[in-house]
């Protein structure tokens, strides 16, 4: 097991480094200086600014320093647009927000989707099954940017039950719509995957044996069928995580929740390269680590995988 984890780490670490190098080079390929304004800056002021931000050094040196700071101290440098704040300040401010509703969305998607899928398979061809299939087909065409305005239309403008945006320290009223908007399409996918793999498992020989010896259905499902049926779901968690973290950008923008996505888009519109890069690297690292975790959990649960 240890060697398996080490082997996966040996792939994960270069991936992250490659991402850092790639974003750094890309940022340097960008035309124009971050300090260029319409009126122009006097040359001596520009020289001072460049010295302050280390832009007077060679590309190679700067890349080395950047990577060193990122890797050893998680220091993404100063923001070019928010004058007195570093990228780390922005991340520290936004990340807890994103993490809060992101975790909720993930839990909701897995629990609701998984339960729906299992029930649909166990009560195959019942109204519950049709409901689950209907929901999962419908939700395919309801990505977060479609869900969000529809939810606001219904719950804020028509019913007036929930606030249409904001965060307020994460009170539940402010959490409901972001979580629903973000989790719906993944919940549907998880329900679909769980249903089909559960159906397959329930037709397997060992389940027939379990039922033949007189075990109640509940016990057959929970003790015998659940574990093998969840394997495909686990391998879907990686893509789901990437999708949700990407979706969080939209949630932040649409609901003004103040997570890192909002900083990301504002920086993208304002060409604040260091913030864009910092967030891209942070998200990339999280994704790679999460995929690593999924791989390890998968290998741990599935005895067929050799490591």
């Amino acid at each position: 097991m240890t060697s398996f984890i080490l082997k996966r780490l040996a792939i994960a670490v270069p991936t992250i480094l490659l991402l850092i190098v790639f974003s750094f080079l890309l940022m340097n390929a960008a035309p124009g200086s971050p300090f260029a304004t319409e009126r122009g800056v006097p040359p001596e002021v520009l020289a001072n600014l460049e010295a302050k931000y280390g832009l007077d050094k060679s590309l190679f040196d700067r890349m080395g320093i950047y990577i060193w700071n990122v890797v050893t101290q998680f220091d993404f440098g100063p923001s070019f647009k928010f004058k007195d704040r570093t990228v780390n300040d922005l991340i520290a401010q936004g990340f807890p927000v994103t993490l809060t509703y992101g975790t909720w969305s993930f839990v909701v998607a897995v629990l609701v989707g998984g339960t729906l899928g299992i029930l649909a398979a166990v009560f195959h061809n019942s109204w519950l099954d049709y409901l689950a299939v209907g929901v999962s087909i419908g939700a395919q065409v309801l990505p977060n940017f479609v869900m969000a305005p529809i939810l606001v239309l219904i719950f804020t403008l028509w019913l007036g039950w929930l606030p249409g945006g904001g965060w307020q320290g994460g009170q539940w009223q402010y959490l409901v719509m972001p979580v629903i908007a973000l989790s719906t399409s993944y919940m549907a996918s998880i329900a679909r995957i769980t249903r089909s793999s559960m159906l397959e498992v329930l037709n397997a020989g060992f389940i027939r044996t379990a039922r033949a010896k007189g075990l109640p259905m509940r016990r057959v499902v929970l003790r015998h069928a659940l574990k093998p049926a969840l394997l495909p779901v686990i391998s879907y968690l990686g893509p789901a995580f990437v999708g949700m973290i990407t979706g969080s950008v939209l949630i932040d923008v649409f609901f003004s929740t103040g997570g890192i996505g909002q900083f990301f888009v504002n920086s993208a519109l304002a060409r604040d390269y260091s913030v864009i890069m910092g967030i891209t690297i942070l998200i990339g690292t999280l994704t790679v680590l999460f995929n690593l975790l999924v791989d390890v959990v998968y290998a741990w649960i599935d005895p067929k995988i050799r490591y």
């Binding site: 792939i11 991936t15 490659l18 991402l19 790639f22 974003s23 890309l26 940022m27 390929a29 960008a30 087909i137 395919q140 065409v141 309801l142 990505p143 977060n144 940017f145 479609v146 969000a148 305005p149 529809i150 606001v152 239309l153 403008l157 249409g164 990686g238 990437v242 973290i245 990407t246 950008v249 939209l250 923008v253 649409f254 990301f264 888009v265 993208a268 519109l269 060409r271 390269y273 864009i276 890069m277 967030i279 891209t280 998200i283 990339g284 994704t287 790679v288 995929n291």
Partner: protein, 304 residues
């Protein structure tokens, strides 16, 4: 679904004609009502995108000054003033805008699917057929690219190289082929040891020719199915970026940008700005999914 003709029909026509795999698939597809209905709907959407501007009374960039300032009351859909879908918040005709957005969105979806078909199939077929170290390296590259949150990288690309429709196509092209490469490789692995490939090797056919003449044609069924299912995900992808305002730029538009415009104006009492683009988006995506499902039932031998 028997291939042998019954004695009666053979007697009548003398020559017994076999049905090819594709003819069978064709028949199965047209027996699927949801898929055929979706195909009709999609053709209508396509016609709307291609010829819609001839039906429009207004140009997509023209501002109807008579509407400005009072859009929530007089800007709604109306047959009299020629704004069939109403006007948007700046007084432009939403019908013409929707035509334009439909074009861009469909184009992104189709281009993404085409790139995935060409690049993904070639990549997967080569990796799967050649095998060994080549396979490992090629698939490792795919794994690597898949483990990166590409949306962030794409936005980085769009920021650095200016936002443009070309850049958007490049970005879509960069990621769309990854899944296809995996699928094509898997399928290649399952057919590369079949007798007809062995026969080709035995008669001295070169490797590139085996891949193009024997492997790729046998991948087509599964490739077509997944390409159809890729179109909606590419459309969703582009719409997501455009919704954030980082995709297509004014005066160009897409479904995502139009939905964003509608969502931004929810509180201004112009529900048609959200309703019409959203309806087009949802109906077309549904159609694509049902066609994909129909094609899978018709072409994928696994699910039969």
């Amino acid at each position: 679904m028997s291939h042998a003709a019954t004695p009666e029909t053979a007697g009548q026509s003398r020559t017994v004609r076999g049905r090819s795999l594709w003819q069978d698939a064709w028949r199965r597809f047209f027996a699927n009502r949801a898929a055929v209905a979706s195909l009709v709907i999609l053709l209508l959407v396509l016609l709307f995108a291609l010829f819609g501007q001839h039906l429009a009374q207004w140009n997509n960039e023209e501002i109807d000054w008579a509407m400005l300032g009072n859009i929530s009351e007089v800007g709604g859909p109306s047959l009299e003033n020629g704004h069939y879908f109403g006007v948007d918040d700046t007084g432009r005709d939403l019908f013409a805008r929707t035509v334009q957005g439909t074009r861009v969105s469909l184009a992104v979806g189709i281009v993404g699917a085409l790139i995935s078909v060409v690049v993904g199939t070639a990549w997967g077929a080569v990796a799967g057929y050649v095998g060994g170290r080549t396979d490992t390296v090629m698939m490792r590259i795919v794994d690597l690219m898949m483990s990166i949150p590409y949306m962030f990288v794409l936005i980085l690309l769009l920021v650095v190289f200016n936002r443009s429709i070309v850049m958007l196509f490049v970005g879509v092209g960069l990621i769309s082929w990854l899944d296809m490469a995996r699928i094509a490789r898997g399928q290649t692995l399952s057919i590369k040891n079949k007798e007809f490939v062995e026969a080709a090797i035995a008669t001295g056919v070169s490797t590139p020719r085996i891949i193009t003449r024997h492997i790729v044609p046998n991948l087509l069924g599964i490739v077509i199915v997944y390409a159809t299912l890729l179109v909606p995900s590419m459309i969703i992808f582009e719409s997501f970026i455009s919704f954030l305002g980082l995709g297509v730029q004014e005066p160009s538009t897409s479904w995502g940008a139009l939905i964003n415009g509608g969502a931004d104006n929810l509180r201004n009492g112009t529900p048609w700005m959200l309703g019409f683009p959203l309806a087009f988006f949802i109906v077309s995506l549904f159609a694509f999914f049902f066609i994909g499902d129909g094609l899978r039932d018709a072409l994928d031998p696994k699910d039969r």
